[in-house]
Symmetry: none
């Protein structure tokens, strides 16, 4: 069964609000195994809504409309949908009673335009609204369905969960199940090339790659009659992806971030960590510290943006700074070793680079970054060349630092 979404509201078209309803409803439909091929947004305009609904009803089995059910004159969804489905509006005594009750309980006066909310298309299923005045509606005709939901998320979500989901479940048996394989340290095109044969030949499950800064996520989605079957289909492909990408897969759990995977690894190995940052200036530490429970492992972080701070905090030698410069493998190494010593940390990662827009030279261009990683008594330094603006270069450096730290821990001898 195919479903599509129409969000009604001029405030979305003006960019005043982000259409989180559409994302949430799409996710719900996907989880129900419903194919959703279109989302659209129209303003509070009867003619354009009529056209959009007509198009949607032609190409999809069900249309979920959200918004435009309120009491004001620019709320037109119900009237338009009733007209499109050829169902006249009649007063629903139960809805009228509920609306009157809503105002009575709150000690508010009910205005005439609220009565409008008790009009329903003849033959429609009325969905009670426990969190507002506008009831939801399901209109069915000739095998097509229009499902009307109120726009406020705190009304829409419970109404969907309590009434619409069970309704849709009855219409569409079968399950869509997804898992995401998250990879760090490999570019999108290389990762895609490594699985192109699978992408080209797989239809169930499908594999879809998504690029994030310094990461690639491969989403594996299967459709089956039963959950167990869908899970098994996905599992086989996830295993194959894990085989191909090996240690570069940092998680196969939807909710786990790279920094979380790093913190979990540190906790598992009972290692403490310390950061020392120049161009990333706290961004690396900040990502680690966003992981709840990091206090068990995070020793200290230093932001040594100036040469003076590098010398004072990490004991980087003046000679090193003079001879090789602040952005050099030598400085990255001394920063990592010095900070490890100062903080008594088992693992230390250092970042020094040129984030721009100024400060670059032909020899050392903007985007040049050295990352040092000191684990046990081994120090690894890697050179990177990132592009983009200052923010993008810093973000890329942070991802690379987390990736290098993770690799160094993985290749270190586990503590006995």
């Amino acid at each position: 069964m195919t479903v599509e979404l129409i969000s009604v509201g001029t405030e979305i078209l003006l960019g005043n609000i982000v259409n989180t309803n559409a994302a949430w409803l799409s996710g719900q439909c996907a989880a129900l195994g419903l194919a959703c091929y279109y989302q659209s947004v129209v303003g509070d305009n009867a003619q354009r809504l009529r056209e959009a609904l007509k198009t949607a009803l032609e190409r999809s089995d069900a249309v979920i409309l959200s918004g435009g059910l309120g009491p004001t004159t620019d709320d037109l969804t119900k009237e338009t949908a009733a007209e499109a489905m050829g169902m006249p509006l009649v007063e629903d005594p139960r809805s009228l009673e509920r609306i009157e009750e809503y105002f009575r309980v709150r000690g508010l006066e009910m205005t005439d335009n609220n009565k409008k909310q008790a009009l329903v298309p003849a033959g429609a299923v009325v969905l009670d609204n426990d969190n507002g005045t506008a009831p939801g509606l399901i209109l069915e005709k000739d095998g097509k369905r229009a499902i009307l939901l109120p726009g406020p998320p705190n009304e829409l979500i419970p109404m969907f969960e309590e009434r619409v989901r069970p309704y849709l479940q009855r219409l569409e048996p079968g399950i869509l199940y997804s898992r995401t394989v998250k990879i760090c340290g490999i570019g999108e095109s290389r990762a895609a090339a490594m699985v192109q044969d699978l992408i080209d030949t797989q239809t169930n499950p499908t594999i879809a790659p998504y690029a994030k800064t310094g990461e690639v996520h491969l989403r594996v989605t299967a459709r089956a009659e039963r959950e167990k079957e869908a899970k098994n289909l996905v599992k086989t492909v996830v295993k194959e992806l894990e085989k191909r990408f090996g240690q570069d897969v940092y998680t196969t759990k939807e909710e786990v971030t790279l920094e979380q995977a790093v913190v979990e690894l540190l906790l598992k190995r009972k290692m403490t960590v310390c950061t020392i940052e120049s161009c990333t200036g706290g961004m690396l530490a900040s990502r680690l510290i966003n992981v709840p429970g990091v206090s068990e492992t995070f020793r200290a972080g230093y932001i040594t943006y100036s040469n003076r701070a590098k010398q004072k905090v990490a004991g980087v030698k003046k000679k090193t700074l003079e001879k090789y410069g602040a952005v050099s493998p030598q400085t990255a190494e001394e920063m990592a070793r010095g900070a490890a010593k100062a903080a008594h940390a088992d693992a230390t990662v250092s970042v020094t680079g040129i984030a721009g827009p100024d400060g670059g030279s032909r020899e050392k261009p903007v985007g040049l970054v050295y990352i040092g990683c000191h684990v046990g008594d081994r120090t690894v330094v890697q050179e990177y060349r990132f592009v983009g603006n200052r923010g993008k270069i810093r973000e890329s450096a942070v991802s690379a630092a987390l990736t290098l730290l993770r690799r160094c821990i993985l290749t270190a001898e586990p503590a006995q």
Copy 2:
């Protein structure tokens, strides 16, 4: 002129990501005075994209497509748009060179699928992508326009700002001129109440409030035949807003961020700065360090997440930690004073709080944050109670820290 948006990406239809691009682009179009009546979303499917684009080109003057410009086989936007506009694809030597350069600089191997990204519809305007490999495109035919932008926001936003906005501005005669009055340290509803009379009565210029974490932006927009006229209309309202909000206005320049205003203030006063962070863990320093030229003023940053680090780095007394706890005004004060001394900085800001989700108690709930600010020989400590998840609480704390630092500098005696 009418414009509409098509977002391309199965991940949006599956509800994996929220369509923030559409909200941002809609806001930009509204600010340019372009009427946007439709937004739609289609997946990575050539046929459906073709139909959506055809419908859009029939009813609107310009269509902005985002997403689907990447190197993988499911990226189809360019091919589909070229076909719809009847423009064959040809290799663009300049784009090919840029993509080759992109890979060379990174020392990465360029795969064949990346070459695909250098194909452009014959006669299209190519928009360089400084933050990724896929160039944007503008296709014009028979008075209709298709504008193709990459999906990642960090590529889409700069490309729109640098190339698409000026292009659209030239198409729409008459002038829409905007300025933004940026306010820190006042909540959205209080700020809105302070200007409600203006919002209610003004039609040209209009005043639109936007809430950001810890900030409110009031966007003043005037429409006129000539730029000078529009600018004058805006100027009068901006002056009135400055009068009402006084020192809480940190800038009236579009591109200036709060951290930039703080750095500029520090530079103007020839003051050096230092940060010491617990729950924000580098996020405050990171925001300051994102400002180009900060090296002149940023002395050092310390991340003292553990009590031990607070004692060692800033000399916070063990007795203070035991008696009042790490999250207390006393600790915030000692952190600020101690870090100022360690870094020899003129201004120091400290943050200590409970970001959650664990670690809260009845007396000290999640969201409780103390911020200390030491300028000259005066130390100010303020208590805050933020709501939201861990990330949101940390962000709120960073905004509050920048706001407090700014106020303390403004009220300090200027150096003679």
